[in-house]
């Protein structure tokens, strides 16, 4: 029977403090039963370790070393205490404060604002001109009782309240000119009257 004696040496060495062979794993017991080299190694190992354990009596300290040691110790640990207290009290305080600030920043930064709508309303009330990007989606035209929605087309000219809406792109030129004429005549008549 072939036996990997060299490989078994370390395993046997780690198992050597078992009290009896019966407590060894089954495969090791089989190896010891069949391999005389491993068996001899194990027996010598047990003998050597027994000698080592028999020599286990160690020196004893008769007197405590504390009286001599007490004189050699440095001054009381005041600095260590201060540092430790500082660490224990202030580090949690700083951590909580930092966390609160972080939360505050996050909530304030993400809160929805009505500023843009306010700008539109204020601008309408003050009768100011708009850029195309700020143009409102609906507004009153002449008749204030009803709102007329308009679809917004790309708009290039500034618009002021009181002027005509973007009829320029919606009506033919002839109709527009007729409409302007009619309005002019109506104003003229009203002026005469």
């Amino acid at each position: 029977m072939s036996c990997h004696c060299a490989k078994n040496r370390n395993r046997l060495a780690l198992l050597v403090d078992r009290d009896s062979v019966e407590k060894l794993p089954e495969d090791i017991r089989r190896i010891l039963a069949n391999c005389p080299t491993c068996r001899e190694h194990y027996e010598l190992l047990c003998a050597a370790m027994n000698s080592l354990h028999q020599s286990g009596e160690a020196a004893r300290l008769e007197k405590s070393l504390w009286p001599q040691l007490a004189h050699r110790l440095p001054e009381p640990r005041v600095q260590g205490l201060r540092y430790h207290e500082w660490k224990q009290k202030f580090v949690p305080l700083f951590s909580v404060t930092t966390a609160c600030l972080a939360l505050l920043i996050v909530f304030v930064g993400n809160r929805p604002t009505q500023n843009e709508n306010r700008v539109y309303q204020t601008a309408i009330n003050r009768n100011t001109s708009y850029s195309p990007l700020q143009y409102p989606t609906s507004f009153n035209v002449q008749d204030t009782s009803s709102r007329v929605p308009y679809s917004i087309q790309p708009y290039t000219e500034p618009f002021t309240q009181g002027d005509y809406p973007s009829v320029k792109s919606d009506f033919p030129d002839a109709l527009e000119s007729q409409l302007r004429e009619l309005l002019r005549q109506q104003k003229f008549r009203q002026g005469i009257e």
Binding site: D17, M49, A58, L65, W66, L69, R72
Partner: protein, 214 residues
């Protein structure tokens, strides 16, 4: 402020010092950090005997072992702020003590002054013409000489594990190595000790025959 229960658990020793065996190491360390020297005395009383025994295994000299024990405790006291209370105090103490001892032996060896170990090992213990050394010296001495022939990293593991009966995990913590490394070193140390011990036994058995043959 001590609770009544804590006071009841304390007891006064013969020299008048109050000994508190039920207080944990971590609690004592906290008290020492707070400037309480008595707490440090309790730690010293708790560990000095075992530490002395371990260090004596390496240096085999009473006065030197006492010095090294004191030096270890002074270092502990000075570096107590660095100790993590969530870890065990014992392995940390023995780690510092063993490292201090091994450093001392290395320095002594480097300086050219032969250490106690090398003095012993340089002696020819088994001179064929001489009598069996074990007739003069006990087994302890023989074991000590054999141990000196084992390299330091294996010897330290063998002493801590087989002579001082620390567990493999504790030895790993003391030596700052992985437990698997410690187990491998232990196996190697035992095998080396066995080889050297068997060789000595053979030589000792052969020497009386040679003497009779003369």
């Amino acid at each position: 402020m001590k609770t009544e229960q804590a006071v009841n658990q304390d007891f006064v020793k013969g020299d008048g010092t109050v000994h508190r065996p039920h207080v944990s190491d971590a609690r004592l360390v906290e008290e020492v950090r707070g400037g309480d020297r008595d707490a440090f005395r309790d730690l010293v009383l708790r560990y000095e005997k075992k530490l002395y025994r371990v260090i004596h295994r390496f240096v085999h000299n009473d006065a030197l072992a006492e010095d090294l024990v004191q030096e270890t405790f002074i270092r502990i006291y000075e570096n107590l702020d660095q100790f993590d209370v969530s870890r065990r105090f014992g392995p940390w103490l023995f780690q510092i003590g063993v490292n201090l001892t091994l450093d001392y032996l290395r320095k002594k060896k480097r300086r050219g002054t032969t250490s106690l170990f090398s003095e012993i090992s340089s002696e020819k213990s088994l001179d064929p013409g001489a009598e069996d050394p074990r007739e003069k010296q006990d087994v302890n001495e023989e074991v000590r000489r054999v141990l000196q022939e084992i390299p330091e990293k294996y010897r330290a593991v063998l002493v801590l594990r087989d002579l001082e009966h620390f567990t493999s995990a504790e030895v790993a913590a003391i030596m700052k190595r992985k437990e698997a490394t410690i187990r491998w070193r232990l196996a190697e140390a035992r095998n080396r000790f066995k080889e050297l011990w068997t060789e000595r036994v053979k030589e000792a058995n052969e020497s009386p025959v040679e003497k009779d043959g003369e």
